[in-house]
Amino acid sequence: METGIVFTAGILCGMMSGILPGVGSLVVMTLAFPFLMTLDPVNILIFYVTLISIDQFFNGITAIVFGMPGSSGAIPSSIEGHAIFRRGDGGNAIMYSAIGSYFASIFGVTLMVCLLPVLWTVYGIWTTTIQAGLFTFAVTMIMLVARNKLIFNVMLFALGSVLARIGWDESTTSSFLTFDMDILYTGIPILPVMSMLFVLPMLLATTRGNFNFPGVSIKGYLESARNMGKYAITLIRSSFLGAVGGFVPGLTYGFSSVLSYTIERWSRKRKGKYSLGDTNCLIASESSNNAGAFTQLIPLLFLGIPITTSEAMIYHILEARGLPVSIEWFSQTFTTVTIFFLASATIGLFLSAKYVNVLKILNGIKISYVYVAIMTFLLISIYTTGQLQYAGMQHIIIALMLAPIGLMLTRFDTTPLVIGYILHHPLFDSWERMVELYW
């Protein structure tokens, strides 16, 4: 009975975190904390895997239809998916990404089951060197594949890095570019950065035409599944890369998406096949997300090491309730967790199709009106998520300060800037550690 309620709650919460930008799985987990404290320990894990699995499907839809990335992992889907949507092919974009995601979920699970006997050794190779190499590779690729000149990409990346560093650093007890302004000490939050420096320039690039969404259907899904053969290499490669990216502490499937996307885009560009709104790139980012969403659980389940804040929260709840948080216990729950992950992926596939068809009511409306609504919605989200920390107005002011930069960047691809913001800390931290470790 409790498991059923938890599973349903996980689905609803996953939908909420996927649809609403800024409301990621961590926010939902924090809000659900009192509820989680009362649950059977296995059900806490079930809630979490259901939440992140469903979140992936709905997150993709918001990114494709509205160009709003709910999280850093959905940025590639916003770039490619929304461009496909604007071509009037949104239905196919959603169906391909959903089928790809579903395949990747199964791939992630199968890969981990096959590797079970050696999984405990995974962190034996997961060193700072490997992590720094992966981050460096992803950043280099994004510089090479973004649509601007290389030098401009480097400048955008540097700007993103600077934005990420602004604020007071508690560990080094130093501040960076705060100009003694109260508002800057707490740093630049992610939602204003993504909204004003990524979504705003992207939406402003094309504001002509009407909202045109043909919808999705079961027949369409089946056809997409049949056609998946021509994307097989993309799918397998990105599912594998996604599975690897899921092990990166702190970033997990967000990094999976960026890594797979950049490699796919580089590969397509090299073959001279890439143009904005590329289905292969969309499938790569969406499928890697889902594979990474599962593999990120492995360190917790097999080493007892939580590598995301949500997992740390789960670990703490189990500990606080005096439950046996041993590797043996986690390992025993693996089968249950896997079954619920696959079940929620299946439900996510169908639920997201139901949800997305509701959006057909917007058909015919001028796209510029929809974009104004999106930006208004984002501003409300910035305020409300900021207000959770009593800083709603501060976040709005920061967003408005960033807006002119976003307006200036309308003609450019701002992906390097956002990636610079997201990867700044893990990239430079891993480099610093490398120096300390080997020099």
Binding site: F33, Y123, E170, T173, P249, P299, E319, Y390
Partner: protein
């Protein structure tokens, strides 16, 4: 008669207000971390008096909540945040008392067969992971290097530090709460029966080194520390290395002792 009625009415509402005054708790560190867990223990210990959690992203946001709150609000505060002049420094009136202290533990990965005291003291290429804190890593590093000049210390943020031992790129790590990892030594009296900092380097300025928390808040009408320490939540806590700290001293004595100690660590660490 009118005055009596007014007086009773006021008394009634005052009593009501007191009875219903909840204490909110500010969270200001990553979920699931030590500080977060400590705040959860306080929340549980408060029972019916607990209001709600207020989520903030860092000590500065937490400070703002404390400064602007019109209702009772409290939190668990790392002692070093009050050292020197920092944007997070709280007004003295907000510092309620000391809370807990735990010695730093030197831990290793259970699968690491090479890990031993002998290796720590005499190994040629020993790598030790430290938590990325300017304040604490300096004295920890000094102690380790005085123990074995061949020790190399590496600073990690919280998340990579979790996986660093398992990756084999470091041999040991230093933490106040060791979790499930086996403990080799501790910089102070400990529950593990392992060798202490004083045994390793007698008289060293950092042989006894621990991580402390303070209780801070505004509008708190109870002895928060005693409430927590006498609760079932405290008895059942997981972070058992953290023990009540300086509770036999007065509030002013507690705080001045901590500040003097922090200053000494800071000066020696420089």
């Amino acid at each position: 008669m009118k005055k009596i009625i007014i007086a009773f009415t006021m008394l009634f509402f005052a009593t009501m207000a007191y009875a219903e005054t909840k204490i909110d708790l500010v969270k200001h560190t990553r979920p699931g971390g030590l500080n977060d867990r400590m705040i959860n223990v306080v929340a549980e210990a408060l029972g019916d008096r607990f209001g709600k959690f207020i989520e903030t992203s860092n000590c500065l946001q937490a400070k703002k909540v404390l400064e602007n709150s019109k209702t009772p609000v409290a939190t668990v505060w790392s002692s070093q945040t009050e050292h020197g002049s920092q944007p997070c420094n709280l007004d003295d009136s907000m510092l309620l008392s000391t809370f807990t202290n735990s010695p730093y533990h030197i831990t290793y990965f259970a699968e690491n067969k090479e890990a031993s005291l002998e290796h720590l003291k005499t190994g040629k290429d020993v790598k030790v992971g430290l938590w990325d804190s300017n304040f604490w890593s300096a004295p920890q590093r000094q102690f380790l290097i005085d123990l074995n000049p061949n020790i190399k210390t590496i600073r990690y943020k919280s998340k990579p530090l979790r996986t660093a031992l398992a990756s084999g790129e470091i041999d040991y790590k230093v933490l106040s709460f060791p979790g499930k990892d086996p403990v080799l030594a501790a910089l102070g009296k400990n529950d593990y029966g392992v060798i202490t900092g004083q045994d390793l380097l007698p008289g060293h300025p950092f042989a006894d080194l621990g991580y402390q928390y303070l209780l801070v808040g505004v509008g708190i009408d109870i002895d928060l520390a005693s409430t927590v320490f006498n609760s079932e939540a405290w008895a059942n806590r997981r972070d058992t290395t953290h023990k009540p700290y300086l509770q036999d001293l007065s509030r002013d004595e507690q705080l001045s002792t901590v500040m003097v100690m922090l200053d000494k660590i800071y000066q020696s660490g420089q």
